[in-house]
């Protein structure tokens, strides 16, 4: 993508539409983070496209002063695929929620990731259906009592990081709404990534699922439970850096640093070709409870779907010449009637 020197302020990224999420919704913070980030991306805004499906998060494009398409439930990755294939010069972002991405749109998500389509997918995970007023979602914890599960949900939730890694995603990261710095870092990493990026952003729904991420956002929880993944650095965490992550027989484990030698601590490498370590890190928590890895899990270079499609078109034009209708209609052989 051609970067041009464009300097926007955050306000240049704001559309004239009134933002209509509930007061206190985590989406406001994410919107602010994304608007600030996009303003500094160095791409002119006519090249930015935000595509969404259905849900609270899906209203996002209306608030961006860019091109935007608010589509139907779950299908945004497929719509965005059509956008980016049609004009590879665009910066294409999908904004989605946990229901949109992992329930009704699960198929489109995994295939967009598998194909490495050049789109960046932001999944706001609030672990609840907000727009339909409070049913359990595919990321709600087991036993969750909601309007549609008065006796508690009996479903094992998805671990979104594991799903994305299992779907051959080349870029996988996690952030949380309150942490604008981390969100910006992760967006930065994603924007320089060639191909599909999957970013889960824990997002508080203060109306239907308040404080779901408290273990990662409260004063004590933030220091105790957040495992910050930083490329090239040892993975240590805790209020006094007293814990570390080790990889034993391919399995990520949490250890007290007093029990191990520092040389045993896993040094995070987002470029590992094999996704098994990243997957193993994703299994350290199943939901935002207890020690939970945050940041970029994986960022590997792979040919993008867009590039491969264009290569075939270029090859066809080089070898056959530009298509001509006169030749096409004669390609099966003709005869003359005199």
């Amino acid at each position: 993508m051609s970067k041009v020197p464009v300097n926007y302020k955050r306000t240049d990224m704001q559309s004239d539409q009134e933002v209509k999420w509930c007061p206190g919704c985590g989406d406001y913070t994410i919107l602010a983070s994304v608007q600030s980030f996009m303003a500094e991306l160095g791409i002119s805004k006519e090249k930015m496209v935000f595509v969404s499906g259905i849900g609270c998060a899906a209203r996002f494009p209306y608030y961006m002063n860019t091109y935007g398409l608010h589509t139907i439930h779950g299908r945004a990755p497929a719509v965005a695929t059509g956008v980016t294939l049609s004009n590879p010069d665009l910066s294409v972002w999908v904004v989605s929620g946990d229901g949109d991405s992992l329930s009704i749109g699960g198929n489109h998500l995994i295939h967009a990731l598998r194909k490495n389509v050049n789109i960046k997918i932001l999944m706001f995970n609030n672990q609840i259906y907000g727009l339909t007023k409070g049913q359990y979602s595919p990321t709600s914890e087991e036993g969750k009592k909601t309007k549609s599960s008065p006796f508690g949900s009996v479903e094992l939730p998805f671990n979104p990081m594991s799903v994305a890694l299992g779907a051959e995603a080349s870029f996988v990261a996690r952030s949380v709404d309150m942490d604008r710095d981390l969100t910006t870092q992760v967006l930065q990493e994603a924007s320089t990534h060639k191909g599909s990026a999957f970013i889960e952003i824990y997002q508080n729904c203060n109306v239907f699922n308040d404080k779901a991420f408290e273990q990662l956002t409260s004063k004590e929880g933030r220091v105790a439970n957040r495992i910050n993944l930083v490329h090239g650095e040892k993975v240590i965490f805790g209020a006094e850096d007293e814990f570390a992550v080790t990889i034993e027989n391919g399995e990520a484990k949490i250890a007290k640093r007093t029990d191990i030698d520092d040389s045993q601590i896993y040094v995070h490498d987002i470029t590992r070709e094999n996704p098994s370590v990243a997957f193993s890190l994703s299994r350290l928590s199943h939901g935002p409870y207890g020690p939970t890895p945050m940041g970029v899990f994986r960022k590997v270079q792979r040919e993008t779907y867009n590039e491969d499609v264009m290569k075939q078109i270029d090859f066809a034009k080089d070898s056959k010449g530009d298509g001509e209708l006169d030749k096409l209609v004669r390609s099966l052989g003709t005869w003359d009637v005199k």
């Binding site: 090249k47 930015m48 209306y62 091109y67 608010h70 956008v83 489109h108 005869w335 003359d336």
Partner: protein
């Protein structure tokens, strides 16, 4: 002195105006190939022709059973024909099951060529015969020729590099060679084709050519075949011709639609019978800047097409019945966002998986009404393989000019049948306009729903164009700004406007034309693939002195402007359809006419004969 020529003793050549031949065998017997080769040779010779392939939905149904029978019918003629013929005059049956499945269609005194080597007790029983049909008397009344096709093949290939059971794969060439002899068709074209097809497997090409010649020579040797036939060249309008089926015609029409509109074609699809061949064909032509996207499912195929449309492509998705159901919600999105898009539906027998390889016209009402909310869109239908080319261009024209999704209906009969097509002068094809814009239409910012007051189309501003950034979606939009609006008066207005925009297209389409006796009391009205059958039936009835006319709709929504007037000129309206009565509902509702239907859902097209009889019955009722 003349050069001496090989003379076959007692050979007589009878000239006939037309013949209908049906090849039938196991689905692995290569009947489609034999039929296609005979068709192409006849096309090159200059006959007019039409074909009807029929095959089971299973790739390899159990050998020797009725379920596994595949057939290919072709009519060749020295005059302009519109259908692949009624009852075949020649039937080639490669095994007892093929005989059992097709004998009832063979015309009285028809020529029946059977592969006698396949008539073993096991195969006879498998086909459901209690006794050998050759001995039961049921073949009386036909001219039966028993040919040892397998023995001939083995003998021909005894020195070939091909060994074992693989040898018998060439036995279809015996049938093709023999039919070529009987109808005085040269083998050169097929020999060239085989050499090219098996360029890298010369031993396979060689085996097939040997067998082909053996079949032909069998005709020379066996006196029974010394009465041969020739169908002379058809007096078609002069010009350059090619032979196409409907899926190819439609694919080329889409490529032409993109060229003529100076846009690039995006085709999103998911494999489904019988629409897949459009995906196959388009994926060959990437040098036209065609992007083919084989999606993860039908919905994604349509959704990616919406994305492509938003980004300025001629965006097309293709499918068959069940897939159209899955695309329904996405089509409503395109309709609501007023994005141009063509949806191709190659109809097949339904409901559900139904009859995947058989023709039916039963998705008409679904195409018109199969969406939630008030969601009118243009619907048009291809009537023949060459018409598919022009309707694909027309569907593109309407979509781009009016900023709307358009459904283009084809069906298995149009899609897989073939006919000679007189090539158009490409420079005569119309250029297509669109609503792409790069300029701001208001001093207060771009208004994506500010309409053109002639077409009522909104401007098409695509990502990448500076200054026209805007956001739209499936929520109701405010006229002009396109902003989300829940205002009641606005929703009423937008709903009415979307309907009016489509209704208004009636002024911009070809008027309906009459065929046959314009002063008749009776009009036969059709749409889609019944065109050949209806027209031929009406022409035959006219020749017989029965007063009847016909007219064939391309657009079913909106109807052409002159339809009402035409209908009012006739006392009796008959509507034949390959469904239980769908167009008839629309005509009755719109024009309050007591039209009569002729309906069939038997997984096969109407024959002209069948229609002629039924039309006459209705007239005499």
């Amino acid at each position: 002195m003349d050069e001496p020529k090989l003379k076959i003793e007692n050979k007589t050549v009878e000239s006939i105006p037309a013949v209908t031949i049906r090849f039938a065998g196991d689905s692995g017997d290569g009947m489609q190939l034999v039929g296609t080769r005979f068709t192409d040779t006849s096309a090159l010779f200059g006959n007019d022709l039409a074909t009807l392939p029929a095959f089971p939905a299973e790739i390899r149904a159990p050998q020797g059973t009725i379920a596994g029978v595949s057939s290919f019918q072709v009519q060749i003629a020295d005059f302009d024909i519109l259908t692949p013929g009624d009852n075949p005059e020649v039937l080639v049956a490669m095994n007892p099951a093929a005989l059992k499945a097709h004998l009832h269609d063979l015309a009285p005194n028809g020529m029946l060529i059977i592969n006698e080597d396949a008539f073993e007790e096991k195969n006879i029983t498998k086909a459901g015969y209690k006794i050998d049909p050759r001995e039961s008397g049921e073949l009386d009344g036909y001219r039966v020729f028993e040919v040892p096709m397998e023995k001939l093949t083995k003998e021909a290939l005894k020195d070939s590099e091909i060994k074992g059971r693989a040898i018998l794969r060439s036995k279809n060439m015996i049938a093709l060679g023999l039919i070529s002899w009987v109808f005085n068709r040269p083998l050169e074209d097929t020999i060239n084709w085989l050499n090219k097809k098996f360029e890298k497997l010369p031993e396979v090409a060689d085996a097939n050519i040997k067998t082909l010649k053996t079949g032909y020579n069998f005709g020379i040797t066996v006196e029974a075949f010394h009465h041969t036939y020739v169908v002379e060249k058809a007096a078609l309008p002069t010009g350059e011709y090619t032979n196409i089926n409907g899926n190819i015609g439609l694919s080329w029409g889409l490529i032409a639609g993109a060229k003529l509109s100076n846009l690039e074609l995006f085709y999103g699809s998911y494999p489904i019978t019988p629409a897949s061949d459009i995906l196959h064909e388009l994926s060959k032509h990437k040098n036209f800047n065609v992007i083919t996207f084989q999606a993860e499912d039908e919905i994604a195929a349509a959704a990616a097409t919406v994305g492509a449309s938003f980004t300025g492509k001629l965006a097309v998705t293709g499918t068959s019945g069940p897939g159209l159901a899955l695309k329904s919600e996405t089509i409503s999105l395109a309709l609501s966002a007023e994005l141009p898009m063509v949806i191709v539906n190659v109809q097949r027998g339904g409901p559900s998986t139904g009859l995947p390889t058989k023709p039916e016209q039963s998705d008409l009402l679904f195409a018109l009404y199969g969406r939630h909310g008030e969601s009118p869109l243009p619907v048009l239908a291809s009537r023949s393989p060459s018409h598919a080319f022009y309707t694909a261009i027309e569907a593109s024209r309407i979509a781009l000019k009016y900023m709307t999704p358009v459904i283009l209906l084809s069906d298995n009969y149009v899609a897989t049948g073939s006919e000679p097509w007189k090539l158009p002068d490409i420079s005569d094809l119309p250029s297509l306009t669109n609503n792409l814009t790069t300029t701001n239409n208001s001093k207060d910012g771009f208004l994506p729903f500010h309409r053109d007051m002639t077409t009522f189309a909104r401007p098409w501003a695509v990502p990448g164009v500076p200054g026209l950034e805007h956001r739209i979606g499936g929520l109701e939009k405010e006229e002009g700004t396109g902003n989300v609006s829940y205002d009641s008066a606005n929703h009423q207005y937008m709903t009415d406007m979307r309907a009016w925009k489509i209704a208004n297209i009636a002024n911009d389409i070809e008027p309906l034309e009459l065929n046959g006796d314009e002063k008749a009391d009776t009009l036969v009205l059709g749409w889609g693939s019944t065109y050949g059958g209806i027209t031929q039936a009406v022409n035959r009835l006219n020749e017989k002195g029965v007063k009847v006319a016909s007219a064939h709709l391309t657009f079913i929504n909106p109807f052409p402007d002159n339809l009402g007037e035409i209908l009012s000129n006739f006392e009796r309206i008959i509507i034949p359809e390959l469904n239980t009565g769908q167009l008839i509902k629309l005509i009755r509702e719109r024009f309050l006419i007591d039209a009569k239907g002729i309906n069939k859902v038997a997984g096969e097209p109407f024959t002209a004969q069948e229609l002629a009889e039924k039309i006459e019955e209705k007239i005499n009722e």
